[in-house]
């Protein structure tokens, strides 16, 4: 358990450093950077590499946005196993829905509660 925290910290930190390098060295906008990371996550999962990685790093792999791509592929593949090609479309949001729905729900609650501070 304690090594888990350590590796979550290190791996999570490293993914963020990759993002920072994309900001500062490649001069990408945040939107470009995050989109690229999500696509990278999806491709890694396509090769079956993301899951062992998540086993190893725990939240260090599931909290960064890369896991969003991984979760989308996962949902699609799960459905694809039972429903074939159609499942690819229908299963996409099966696993990820919680992250997106939480963000939407809290976003709206936030809009009800808060004003931008500037």
């Amino acid at each position: 358990m304690l090594p888990m925290f350590f590796w979550a910290f290190v791996i999570g930190g490293i993914i963020c450093v990759i993002g920072q390098l994309m900001f500062d060295v490649a001069k990408l906008t945040p939107a470009h950077t995050l989109s690229t990371l999500v696509v990278a996550g999806a491709i890694l999962d396509g090769f079956g590499l993301y899951e062992p990685f998540a086993d190893f790093a725990g939240a260090g792999a599931t909290i960064p946005i890369t896991s969003f791509g991984n979760a989308l592929v996962h949902g699609a593949m799960q459905e694809a196993e039972t429903h074939g090609l159609v499942g690819v479309l229908t299963g996409m949001f099966e696993v990820t829905s919680s992250g997106i729905s939480a963000a939407i729900v809290f976003g709206f609650i936030g809009a009800l509660l808060f004003k931008p501070k500037g």
């Binding site: 925290f5 993002g19 999962d45 939240a59 960064p64 896991s67 592929v73 976003g107």
Partner: protein, 159 residues
């Protein structure tokens, strides 16, 4: 891309660019990376604590605890965004606070808060995905392609 751009520039513009570069404050890449590493790592460690919390006290396993964990992280992100702390954290940590899912939450929540003056339907509704939209679009589309390719390969392999 960059090459094409340079070709379009007149010699005068290129000369100016070189002059201007001399005075341009360089981005402190190393310092930024260190800050991103520690803040990003810390957010992930907090995520790990939260996920163990769900494992320990609720009916979540290591695999399923991911969902409530990201929801909780986004919830905290909402509070920090609403109280005007997340933008300051972002200036400090850069990718350290943008890459974790809390940054995804922040991009949705900040857009929602920002546009409430234009009404809830057209303002909040129309702009909530202003920043996160590209992440969702490319996430979904790339996942579709990856899953499609993988499924086709598996079915062909099965034949």
């Amino acid at each position: 891309m960059a090459n094409k751009k340079n070709k379009q520039k007149t010699p005068q513009q290129q000369q100016y660019e070189q002059l201007e570069k001399k005075f341009e404050t360089k981005r402190p890449v190393l310092k930024n990376c260190i800050k991103a590493f520690f803040v990003g790592g810390l957010i992930c460690t907090i995520g790990q604590v939260i996920s163990y919390f769900y494992i320990y006290f609720f009916h979540f396993t290591e695999q399923t605890s991911g969902n409530p964990t990201s929801a909780t992280v986004i919830f905290f992100s909402m509070l920090l965004t609403g109280f005007g702390i997340y933008d300051r954290l972002g200036q400090f940590a850069g990718a350290g606070s943008a890459v974790p899912v809390s940054g995804f939450g922040n991009s949705i929540i900040s857009a929602a808060i920002e546009h409430r003056t234009e009404g809830f339907v057209l303002g909040v509704g129309g702009n909530i995905f202003k920043l996160a939209g590209s992440v969702i679009l490319f996430g979904v589309f790339s996942a579709f392609v990856v899953a499609l390719v993988k499924t086709i390969i598996m079915e062909l392999g099965g034949l």
